[in-house]
């Protein structure tokens, strides 16, 4: 036999299904906005991590570098704490790689009388140092050697991706909050109407000595269930968006299960909070 709270909460959905649906949908939409941004943020993170794995610093060497200088440079760089591995790429190897990677220009390369590509050393960073700051530090140190022509490390675009991720987070927070406020207002109104509809019952409950908690519980449960339904709706919408975009526009990864569970639960908590706030304002008037 279900308890009074559960029976009353379920009855509330039967009495005003349209209102319950509206509340659930508004929570669903607000969480859908958050869900979409969570999906984007997660995928940016995944991409960033894979880029970070490939983070390396390349120092292009002057053509007149001696074997002893090259040896010195390699040994020095290997001793940097941030560095995992150092590979020397000769002019010849650079050309061979270029011809392999840029097949359509093979003829151009073959016709050349001299090899224009510089020799280089490629530096792989240790995993714990694959961040923009460490990469820049190593790059600057290598640039100090006079026989190093130029140092490249994708510093700018690594920074840009980090910025983009932060921007995405901020936009998600602002839009999500706006939608959440709308959802709270709608649920609050729903609960208020439910309180009004059950005014007589509430007065009688107070009359015969029902506790505040007993009177509140069905309404809180109603808000929580509405929120959970909204959370599930958001999950469906986000997953739908994922299916549409994944493969057709870009390849995406679905967010971890813990995130989806947290999202649905967030809906429930949002509904609970909205009910609680509405009850505090409207139930107090029935002495």
């Amino acid at each position: 036999m279900p308890s009074h709270s559960v029976r009353e909460a379920v009855a509330a959905f039967r009495r005003a299904p349209g209102l319950a649906l509206l509340s659930a949908t508004s929570i669903g939409l607000s969480l859908f906005v958050l869900g979409t941004f969570a999906l984007v943020t997660y995928n940016v993170d995944v991409t960033l991590r894979s880029i970070e794995r490939r983070v390396e610093v390349v120092a292009y060497l002057r053509d007149d570098i001696s074997a002893a200088q090259l040896e010195l440079l390699q040994n020095d760089v290997r001793s940097f704490p941030e560095v995992e591995n150092v590979t020397h790429v000769s002019k010849f190897e650079a050309m061979r790689e270029a011809m392999q990677q840029l097949e359509e220009f093979r003829d151009v390369f073959t016709d050349l009388e001299m090899n224009p590509l510089p020799a280089s050393i490629e530096v792989q960073m240790r995993p714990e140092y694959r961040d923009p700051e460490a990469v820049a530090r190593v790059g600057e140190l290598m640039g100090l050697y006079p026989f190093v022509e130029d140092v490249r490390y994708g510093r700018e675009w690594v920074n840009k991706i980090f910025q983009l991720r932060r921007l995405g987070g901020a936009v998600a927070a602002i839009l999500g909050t706006a939608f959440a406020i709308v959802a709270i207002l709608i649920i609050g109104t729903t609960v208020r109407m439910a309180v009004l509809a059950r005014r007589e019952e509430i007065i009688i409950m107070r009359l015969v000595g029902a506790t505040d908690g007993f009177i509140r519980r069905p309404f809180l449960l109603e808000g929580f269930i509405t929120g959970l339904i909204g959370g599930l709706l958001a999950l469906l919408l986000t997953y739908g968006a994922f299916l549409v975009v994944d493969g057709s526009l870009i390849d995406l990864e679905w967010v971890p299960t813990a995130w989806t569970a947290a999202g649905v639960l967030a809906g429930g908590i949002l509904g609970l909070a909205a009910s609680g706030m509405s009850l505090r304002r409207h139930l107090i008037s029935y002495a």
Partner: protein
């Protein structure tokens, strides 16, 4: 058992409703509260029921004091104080038995006890045969009996009745009043607000507290009352 000590009640818009009201209702006592409309009869009952707080002074009911009362204590007090109104306040969409069961359930009674207790209460108010009737199928007198049964569900120490026969014809009134006297004779104190001076005269053995413009002008149970 019920004590009002120098109680004032002021409303923001309508001003002073009670002025320096003091009386002591003893265990098992029966008292009428009389006076013209707006004299403060209902306010006194509401204060005892702790639906309102005095603006000044103190209300004591069965060990509870308005001065130290927390909101969460009110439900426990309500289970010791039964209340009936002129306008019944029954749930229209539930039968007589369900109205009582609802009151028992929401005030924390065990499910296993509810059915038996409802039957006992219905028998006590003489309506065992009407258990399945909805309020609109019951006469005014019968509805008021259900309301009284509801007020008795927790075996209260006092029954507060605010014009309980105000909406009833003479015969139904007599029945309801007899029931109130039965309840009183089984040990429950009664405080009944009424306009019916004829009734008050007929039952002169009961205490009478008369209010006018928020002040006690006569109290047959208190020799110090103002005259």
């Amino acid at each position: 058992m019920i004590k009002l000590i120098n109680v004032y009640k002021e409303y923001p818009r309508s001003g002073l409703a009670l002025k320096n009201v003091s009386f002591h209702l003893k265990k098992g006592e029966f008292a009428f509260i009389i006076g013209p409309s707006g004299a403060g009869k209902s306010t006194v009952l509401h204060l005892i029921h702790m639906a309102e707080q005095p603006s000044d002074g103190e209300v004591r009911v069965s060990g509870y004091s308005s001065a130290r009362m927390k909101r969460r204590d009110v439900p426990r007090l309500r289970r010791r104080v039964g209340m009936v109104f002129q306008d019944f306040r029954l749930l229209r969409d539930r039968t007589a038995a369900d109205n009582l069961a609802f009151a028992l359930e929401v005030s924390g009674a065990k499910r296993s006890e509810i059915k038996g207790k409802v039957q006992r209460l219905l028998a006590q108010v003489g309506l065992a045969a009407r258990a399945g009737a909805y309020p609109e199928e019951l006469s005014g007198g019968e509805q008021q009996r259900i309301v009284m049964a509801r007020a008795l569900i927790h075996d209260p120490v006092v029954l507060l009745a605010d014009e309980p026969m105000g909406n009833l014809d003479e015969r139904a009134s007599r029945g309801v009043f007899d029931l109130i006297r039965d309840i009183n004779s089984s040990g429950t104190a009664v405080m009944m607000a009424t306009h019916d001076l004829e009734l008050v005269r007929r039952y002169s053995q009961y205490r009478v507290i008369e209010l006018a413009e928020g002040a006690i002008v006569y109290d047959s149970g208190n020799s110090n009352a103002e005259s």
